[in-house]
């Protein structure tokens, strides 16, 4: 039996830290990219197998959309059919919620033993967290397609041309990446997966105080200021104008600015939190 271990060592040219040599030879940048890809594949696979979380993140947005369109929609006057008004909001709610679950998956990794193994393999924070963000992007692509599919069935008629669709994909991807990065940072700061889960609720309720479900002008005046200037509103208005037409004004630029700002802030915060979390864990 000991033969096979010895074999493993010999097969790569005798004793010594064979892996170290190869790493050196392959070059550090290439190794980092490989690590990011492997970690992305891992997180995507884990996401696709976490059946309960998957069903929640796929079914919840659809259920919410049906609820808004059929239960509340009749009473809400937005100047168009309600399904046309609400779909961009539901897509964004779905993307926000799906991204926020990144906080839970990151927190699970940090509290389990896996992070120590990854670090002793010299896998850095960028690869660990990047994998989670990539998986979030894959999850959200799936749930967005599902929501759009159901929306088309219940009477949503987008007027977007090919370029506008590219814009939709671009702004959604940017939004998902920035909220996922923020969630990853929150997941690092949270003491437990349960605590991290609280953040997903915060993100899920944020669209309610925006133009997602009702026009901001129908809100009480003290709330209008917040609803107009919070990051969700320009993203939704951008989506809306891309999908069903209408002038977007400065919304696209505001949306991109918000997303980039959140992304940059989150990456910085995550970097600090990852280092802090992995150098000061207090187990004796």
């Amino acid at each position: 039996m000991s033969e096979s271990i010895a074999l493993g060592r010999r097969a790569r040219g005798g004793g010594g830290p064979a892996v170290g040599r190869r790493r050196h030879w392959r070059g550090r940048g290439r190794g980092r990219l490989d690590n990011c890809l492997v970690m992305s594949a891992r997180c995507t696979r884990l996401s696709s197998r976490n059946i309960e979380a998957l069903i929640t993140s796929l079914m919840l947005p659809v259920a919410l959309m049906l609820m808004f369109v059929y239960l509340f929609g009749g009473a809400i006057d937005t100047g168009t059919t309600y399904v046309t008004y609400v779909v961009p909001g539901v897509i964004l709610l779905c993307a926000g919620f799906g991204s926020a679950t990144t906080a839970v998956t990151v927190s699970q990794d940090m509290t389990g033993g896996i992070v120590d193994r990854l670090r002793s393999l010299d896998v850095g924070g960028a690869a660990v967290l990047g994998g989670h963000v990539a998986a979030s992007l894959a999850r959200n692509a799936a749930s967005t397609v599902l929501v759009l599919g159901v929306a088309l069935l219940i009477g949503f008629h987008p007027t977007a041309g090919p370029l506008a669709w590219l814009g939709v994909i671009g702004i959604l991807a940017l939004f998902v990446i920035s909220i996922s990065a923020l969630s990853a940072a929150i997941g690092l700061l949270a003491g437990s997966p349960e605590a991290a889960n609280g953040f997903t609720f915060f993100v899920m309720f944020l669209p309610y105080a925006s133009s997602a479900f009702v026009p901001v002008s129908t809100m009480p005046s003290w709330l209008q200021g917040f609803a107009r200037h919070q990051p969700i509103t320009p993203v939704i208005e951008t989506l809306r104008s891309l999908l069903v037409g209408g002038s977007a004004g400065s919304d696209p630029w505001q949306a991109v600015a918000w997303c980039v700002a959140i992304l940059v802030g989150s990456v910085g915060l995550a970097g600090v939190a990852f280092t802090r979390r992995t150098t000061q864990s207090s187990s004796a």
Binding site: M1, S2, S4, I5, A6, L7, G8, R9, R12, G15, G16, P17, A18, V19, G20, R22, R23, R26, G31, D34, N35, V38, M39, A41, R42, R45, L46, R49, N50, G112, G113, I114, V115, D116, R117, L118, R119, S120, L121, D122, V123, T278, T279, Q280, S281, S282, S283, A284
Partner: protein, 332 residues
């Protein structure tokens, strides 16, 4: 110097806030040897391993692993070591084979080699049938075997095993011991932490006893056992008079005395002639002894013999237990 030592730590210190964990710890292990770090919970075993594995930085002292400094040459250390922790660091939602392939890829192997290495390790650890199953369905022993397999993926030259058999049933423990034994034979340097004297004795070339963040004794298992009563004969006497007589006759040879239970313990090698001789010596009339048993030394016994006191570490619960035991000793 550094060429023959795979692990060399001098004066390691570490504290978390006001809680001191390591207080000037020195250890060394020669290339290809197995060093056991033996100590109670909270003695600083895991902290030591985490410092040597570059996962945390020490507040004081220096350490070299595989010839590299654990701070300034962290990357080189990481390329030469692997760590198998107390909590199996595996993804429950991935199969055993997927876990191993992932780790092989992260260790720098290409896709094809990663697959080959994973298959090889599954076979080596008797997990071929379970390889396609999700790890969440594995038993504790299988998880630990897979964890060990995972730690060997990159063919490391130094392996840290942090309480590898903690919480395993006796059969799985036995199986894991065999694996570690074979590892050592293949020329890898192993540092393992354990709370069990038996485990350290069975696996290690040298044992370092850790208590309160420093090494209190170090040597080969045989050396340490000579200082500790490896096995002891425990005799329960039928009446207080026989107990008192035997206690007087044995004098300083008594390693443990519990008058309330009329129990005396004497060091023995466990061989029949020696045991028979002892029994005859303390009870020539053959009526004074109620029961007897042969007990194997515990960690507590080691500490008592080496330091003259019970271990510092451990929670409040164990401390209370020690206090009651000490009271019994005081009754003598």
């Amino acid at each position: 110097m550094a060429q023959t030592l795979a692990i060399e730590a001098r004066g390691l210190g570490k504290s978390y806030g006001r809680l001191g964990v390591l207080a000037g710890l020195d250890i060394s292990a020669e290339r290809g040897s197995v060093l056991a770090l033996l100590g109670p919970n909270g003695a600083g075993k895991t902290t030591t391993v985490r410092i040597l594995a570059t996962l945390i930085a020490a507040d004081a002292g220096t350490a070299r692993v595989a010839g590299f400094d654990v701070v300034s040459q962290r990357r080189a250390v990481r390329a030469s070591i692997s760590l198998a922790g107390q909590s199996a660091a595996l993804d429950g939602l991935q199969s055993g084979a997927e876990n191993l392939r992932m780790i092989a890829r992260l260790a720098g192997l290409d896709r094809r080699r990663a697959r080959a290495r994973a298959d090889q390790l599954l076979e080596r650890f008797d997990l071929v049938d379970a390889g396609g199953r999700r790890v969440a369905t594995y038993s504790g022993g299988m998880r630990r075997r897979l964890d060990l397999a995972a730690s060997l993926v990159g063919a490391p030259s130094v392996i840290f095993l942090d309480e590898p058999t903690n919480g395993l049933d006796p059969r799985s423990r036995q199986a894991l011991w065999e694996v570690v034994g074979e590892l050592a034979e293949s020329g890898v340097t192993v540092l393992l932490t354990t709370q069990y004297l038996e485990e350290a004795d069975r696996l290690a070339d040298r044992i370092a006893v850790i208590d309160g963040g420093r090494i209190v004794a170090e040597g080969s298992p045989a050396t340490l056992k000579r200082r500790v009563a490896d096995q002891r004969l425990e005799i329960v006497f039928a009446d207080p008079a026989s107990f008192a007589r035997a206690a007087g006759a044995l004098g300083p040879r008594v390693v443990r005395s519990e008058p309330a239970r009329r129990l005396l313990a004497v060091a023995t090698d466990g061989r029949a002639p020696a045991v028979r001789g002892l029994l005859d010596e303390v009870d020539p009339g053959r009526r004074g002894i109620d029961r007897f048993s042969i007990e194997t030394a515990t960690l507590d016994d080691v500490f008592l013999a080496l330091t003259g006191r019970r271990p510092d570490g451990g929670g409040i619960g164990t401390r209370q237990l020690h206090t009651t035991q000490s009271k019994e000793v005081l009754h003598v």
